[in-house]
Each structure stands twice: as structure tokens, then as C-alpha cells.
Amino acid sequence: MLESLKGFLKPSTVPYPYKEIPPAEGYRGKPLYDRDKCIGCGACSQVCPAKAITVVDQGSTRVLRVWHGHCAFCGRCEDTCPWEAIKLSREYVIVTYNKEEAEDKLELELAACASCGSYFTTSRQLAKIVELVEESINKRGASLEEYRKLISLCPPCRSRPEALKEAFKFMLKMG
């Protein structure tokens, strides 16, 4: 009875959509890509339980797409991404009349093979690999340019005899 009189003066509800209550720290809202960090490896799509993330190669671009309609907001993509390129934001409002607003799309440029010209991975991934091994290559005195040339071959071209010979020579130089 007392509660009724107390609640009379101060209601416990807010007139939502005119006034919102922000969610807590660490709330798992919509997953959004970090445009600069993502290299297009596709690990997020492999662990997604709802199969909401798709990685599709179209021509010379790789399109990564999180479809918020299927997303379960579990956070596995955030846990699995090695580069912290997909994070669950604190936004929870997905209501829209326009389907394109309910997804997060990222288009990355694919790198063409130096010898056969087919697209095999994103150029950012190659750049990332070079960045990761740069220090150890320079320490051993090998040439970064040569390494870069070696890895810009697609996997089929890489396993051809001439390419394998070049790779072996490089590895000998590395010690």
C-alpha cells in the first residue's frame, strides 16, 4: 500500500523513445567492424553460432557482412578476432524500415597473384604478415622486398617448382 503512494509521486518508468536509459558497461550490443584493423581473415564467420557473418569474394573485393537480423549478440566474434577488429558496441536499437541499416558491411581489396593474376587474399592480410615478420627478417639480414615478392604468389603458384626453389633460397639466407 505504501509502495503505491510512493510510486505515485515518482514513477519507475521513463517515456521511452523520448528518454532512454543507457545500458551498462560491457553491454553486448550490435557487432561493428573497425574499418582500419580488419584484415579479412574470416575467423569471425567461422565461429559465429548463428551464421550471421558471411565472407564472400566478389571479383576484386572481399565483402564481410554482419547481418544483425541473425546475430545472437553472443560475442564469440569479438573473443575470436586476433586483431580486435570487430567489437560489440552498446547500441541495441536495430529497428529500421531499411534492411541496409541492419547490417555492417566491410569491403576489402583483394590482392592479385603476381604470376597468374587470380585473387587469393586481401592486400591488408599480406601487409599484416609483412608487418609481423619485419623485425625478425631485418634482424637476420634478409631482404624484406624479396619476402614480399615471395608471398604475393597465390598458393597454387607458390607450390610450383621454380617458386619453391626461390623460397628455399630465401629460407637459407634467413639461417
Binding site: 560491457g26 553491454y27 549478440f73 553472443c74
Partner: protein, 387 residues
């Protein structure tokens, strides 16, 4: 006097989910009842045999929105038995913490729904306002208000920082005050008593014959609780007791749930005080063994939740079988309804705390020759759309 047939459901304001109860009434008295489920079948067990072990937990969590952590914990524990993984102590304490918080939110929800069904809308709104406090605690601890995705194979996904622990303790004071207010309302209000006392009685023999579980059984004098009989997480290290009442009517089940709220608050206080430091994930997960079958059970807010899994050596379980407490409790409803008024039917049905999303079995009745055929998994697979 001839009997009239009153349908409750599949669309009905008394039900939160779709279910069909047919009441045979004479005037206002119920003389027969029949229950049909199956409107909520989603094919979760079929989907579960197409997801890896880590992904299955998120799928099974969504069997029910109110007891989602119970499903997640049961699924995780079953997988841990299958893969022979033991979570560290801190993880066990944290799992129990979220499980008890979920029990609090589920019981406050049930009180709101039950009070709404007997017409006391004010207490319904107040109970759900107090439930919001629990939801905010869950949001701060796990990251979401429902479908927390908290347990994972080998432990839990998020740690409890000291700041969060202090926040939980502060909110617990508020929750305890709310529980005291609820107790005063339910125990002292004469009009509530007039609606729920000596209504929908389930005798102890009937309860045993129908194999009911959870607060439905504890309200009829049967002392069963998975947390005491078969302890999991860290329930054997906590001090608490199981509330049991003998009368078997709706008031007894109400009081069981009320006492369980207080026991949960007691348990959460102990967990926050005694939680050990340490890692929250196990270091190593072994490979699954082909042909191994395990089962595990958990005390969901509605009763005993039972999971069975079989592995075929890959990282995808071959078969997952879920037996939810509502499946067991639904069969007691036709027995409890007979002899009481139509006006009592919704509250009697709500007294088993029905979670119809949890009861997913489909029956196909051939009206021409009256035969009943159960739909098998293969039939469903033929008609399901591959995701």
C-alpha cells in the same frame, strides 16, 4: 447439466506462449481438462546436431528466455562431462552466482504473472519493477539481460571485478527489501488468500505418480532438489535449505517460490563473500571420444533440467536431447484443474510456472482412424530448411 467446452489458447491473454487447454465445464465448474502442446516447436535438437560444441551452448540457451542460464549451464556441464574437463573453483562459484541471480529474476517474474492472473495488477507492476533491479545486476555482470551467454566449456566468459562485486552487493540490499515487501503482500493480503488458498490441490500421491519436479513437487510435500541430491557447481559448499510445503495447493507453491527467493539471496551473499581467486577458464580441453554418452542435470527455476549428449568423435555432437521441467509438470495440470472454477483455471495453470517454450514435442494425430504418430527427427529433417 450438459457440459460445455471452453478453449484456453492457443491465443489467450492468460498464456504467455501458445498452448491449448480444453476445459469441459458445467456452469462454472470444471469437470474435464485436456492439454496439447507443440505449437512452439522450433527444431532445436536437430539444429544442435549441426553446430560445434562451443556453438551448441548458444543455441541451447535460446530454448527458453527465462531459464536461459539453466540451459546454458546444463549444456556446458554435459559437454564438460563428454570432454572430461573440470572448470576451476572460481568459475564454479561464478556459475552458481549467475544461476541464483537467474532464479531470482524468474521467481519475481512468476510472482508478477501470478498476481496479474488473479487480478492484482498493482502488485504485478511492483514485482516486475523489483525484477528490473535483478536485470540490471545481470546486465552488469554478464553483459545482457536475457540469454547471458555466460558459461563456456571449461569455465565462464567474464570475470567479476571487485567494483562489480560491490555493485552486486549494494543491489542485493534493494532486492532483499523488495522480497520482504512481496512476502508481506502475499502472506498477509486476505484477498490473495481467497483466490489461491485451497485451489488446485495436487496430492502427494498424484505428484509422485505424475513425476512432477521443482516447486510444483515441493509444494506437494516431496523433498527433491537437484542442487542437494546431485550437487553441481559449488552448491555443496554453500549453506542453504530446501523449502517444502505440504498442502499441495497454489498457495503452497507460491510460498515455496517465495522462500526460494530468500534462499537465493542468502546463497548470493555467501558466494560474494567466499569466492576464491584464480583463473576462470580451464587450461586444456581433451578430444571427444567416439561413442561416448553422458547426461547431466541442473535445477532450473522450474525444476530438474536434464541434458543428454552423444559424441561421434568430431567436434559436432551427434545427438543432444533436452528434457525440460515443464514437460514433466504439464501433465499435472489436467489433474489439478478438475473440480475448480473456470476463474481458477489460469492461476492453477500458472502455478506450475509453465515455460511452454521449453516443451517442444510434436504429435501428429490422424483424426480419421484416431491413431497417434510421433514426428521423428528424420521427418523433421526432410521438411526443415537448412540454415
Amino acid at each position: 447439466m450438459s457440459t460445455c467446452s471452453i478453449p484456453i489458447g492457443p491465443f489467450h491473454p492468460a498464456l504467455k506462449e501458445s498452448l491449448f487447454i480444453r476445459l469441459e465445464v458445467e456452469g462454472e465448474r470444471v469437470v474435464g481438462a485436456d492439454l496439447k502442446t507443440g505449437y512452439f516447436h522450433r527444431g532445436i535438437e536437430w539444429l544442435a546436431s549441426r553446430r560445434t560444441f562451443h556453438q551448441v551452448i548458444f543455441l541451447c540457451e535460446r530454448v527458453c528466455g527465462i531459464c536461459s542460464d539453466a540451459h546454458a549451464t546444463a549444456c556446458t556441464q554435459t559437454i564438460e562431462d563428454l570432454l572430461d574437463v573440470e572448470p576451476p573453483e572460481r568459475a564454479k562459484y561464478l556459475r552458481a552466482l549467475v544461476a541464483e541471480l537467474e532464479r531470482l529474476h524468474s521467481h519475481f517474474l512468476w510472482f508478477g504473472v501470478a498476481l496479474h492472473l488473479i487480478g492484482f495488477d498493482t502488485a504485478f507492476m511492483h514485482a516486475w519493477r523489483d525484477r528490473e533491479v535483478v536485470m540490471r545486476v545481470l546486465e552488469a555482470v554478464t553483459g545482457k539481460r536475457v540469454n547471458y551467454a555466460y558459461p563456456t566449456i571449461g569455465g565462464v566468459r567474464r570475470d567479476l571485478t571487485p567494483k562489480l562485486a560491490k555493485f552486486v552487493e549494494a543491489q542485493l540490499v534493494e532486492i532483499e527489501r523488495a522480497a520482504e515487501r512481496l512476502k508481506e503482500t502475499v502472506v498477509n493480503d486476505r484477498m490473495i488468500r481467497a483466490r489461491v488458498a485451497e485451489v488446485g490441490v495436487l496430492t502427494k500421491e498424484d505428484a509422485k505418480k505424475l513425476c512432477v519436479v521443482g516447486p510444483t513437487a515441493r509444494g506437494s510435500g516431496i523433498d527433491i532438489d537437484v542442487r542437494k541430491d546431485d550437487p553441481y557447481a559449488n552448491y555443496d559448499k554453500l549453506e542453504w535449505s530446501v523449502p517444502v510445503f505440504d498442502q499441495g495447493d497454489v498457495l503452497a507453491k507460491t510460498l515455496v517460490r517465495l522462500m526460494e527467493i530468500f534462499e537465493s539471496i542468502k546463497m548470493i551473499k555467501q558466494i560474494l563473500k567466499d569466492i576464491p581467486e584464480g583463473p576462470i577458464m580451464a587450461e586444456e580441453i581433451k578430444e571427444p571420444v567416439k561413442g561416448k554418452e553422458v547426461f547431466d542435470r541442473v535445477e532450473a527455476p522450474r525444476g530438474e533440467l536434464f541434458y543428454y549428449m552423444r559424441s561421434n568423435g568430431t567436434n559436432i555432437p551427434e545427438r543432444v536431447r533436452i528434457r525440460t521441467p515443464s514437460v514433466a509438470n504439464n501433465h499435472s495440470v489436467p489433474v489439478m484443474l478438475i473440480g475448480y472454477n473456470i476463474a481458477d483455471a489460469p492461476i492453477i495453470f500458472a502455478s506450475i510456472d509453465p515455460c511452454i517454450a521449453c516443451t517442444d514435442r510434436v504429435e501428429v494425430v490422424n483424426v480419421k482412424n484416431g491413431s497417434v504418430k510421433h514426428v521423428t527427427l528424420e521427418d523433421l529433417a526432410r521438411r526443415r530448411v537448412m540454415l
